[in-house]
Symmetry: C2
DNA sequence: GTCTATAAAGCGATAGAC
DNA sequence: GTCTATCGCTTTATAGAC
């Protein structure tokens, strides 16, 4: 049952992400991850050179998906419809297997800030922001673009600072995000 | 010059908050705080019993200010005007000396989660949320209430995941927050 | 591919002198 | 109120056997 494994690398990623989300990156030790997997620390080091490398592998996955969205949007015209479709795709991504990674990113900014993988990701997020709220747009629109993204994240993670289930529905979150990316009366792009 | 001090406790709070915001709670050691103050670790322990106690003292300050706002709002009628005034007062608080504390809270959720002081604060935030978006309100309105608060925080901390100065103006943030707390066409309280 | 054992460093916290 | 010195523990990471 616990004999030869070929998926240990992925099991490490899964368990590590679980613990990172549950108790934070810094508070999660390799010993803890190893224990939960019922292997030793040394086994972890066979698959990942450092603790940071685990995070790196986690973020690389989501990174390419984000790149796809940015690339797709680059081929479209800069319309409200395009921005809304970007949000819809992001919502699907967050509701899918990247939700926990997103949440980890959201809640562990200090850790990511000095992690290199964090900077790579920050650049990708900046592309997304520029997509949703161009640098030459109304400052309020830029802020709304960022809030639209936050809405999607909170929708997936109700306990932003609370845990009211009603405010945490993904459908509601997408609805509010779309409305934030839509032109108000007397404005638009 | 560096002789007798009577404000050491406050100096510790100030320097600790600076470092907590800059590099995160976990990554900031008492040794580092002591070095920046040019005292020893042991001196820190004279003023605070634990590292956690420093955070506790930081959060207690802002806590009473939040309580005042909640109490004031409790005396008003539950109108849009009241909610907007709450946001205005929160904005002033965040723009004032509580900005860094707010940012620390926002960026160190995993650390706060297991810090007791964090739970006390979470309860206060919940009161605020309930104030801005009652539990029996439209789920979308509840989410918007949370986003209004996020807007104020991002306004004070542009580098949410980026650092575009235009999107980080406190006035713009307040404007967007107010609009999020206002009834849309066909809805209201 | 996983193990035991350990190195090297940093951490929060305390004791006791001054 | 601040110091020196240190305790006890945990951490990341490595060496080398199997």
């Amino acid at each position: 049952m616990a004999g030869r494994r070929t998926d240990t690398r992925e099991r490490i990623q899964r368990v590590a992400l679980d613990l990172f989300v549950e108790q934070g990156y810094e508070k999660t030790s390799l010993r803890e991850i190893a224990e939960k997997l019922e292997v030793t620390k040394a086994a972890l080091y066979y698959h990942f050179r450092t603790k940071e490398d685990i995070v790196h592998s986690l973020i690389e996955d989501i990174g390419s998906s984000l790149d796809e969205i940015v690339a797709w949007a680059g081929e479209q015209d800069r319309s409200v419809r395009t921005r809304q479709e970007v949000l819809r795709r992001l919502s699907a991504l967050i509701q899918g297997r990247f939700g926990p990674v997103m949440r980890f990113m959201q809640e562990n900014q200090p850790a990511l800030k000095e992690l290199h993988a964090g900077h790579v990701l920050a650049q990708r997020m900046k592309s997304l922001f520029t997509l949703l709220g161009p640098d030459d747009a109304d400052p309020a629109d830029q802020l709304r673009a960022r809030l639209a993204l936050v809405a999607l994240m909170i929708g997936n993670n109700p306990q932003f600072l609370d845990e009211n289930p009603a405010a945490g529905s993904s459908e509601v979150a997408l609805q509010v995000a779309l409305e934030l990316a839509s032109p108000r009366s007397g404005a638009g792009t």
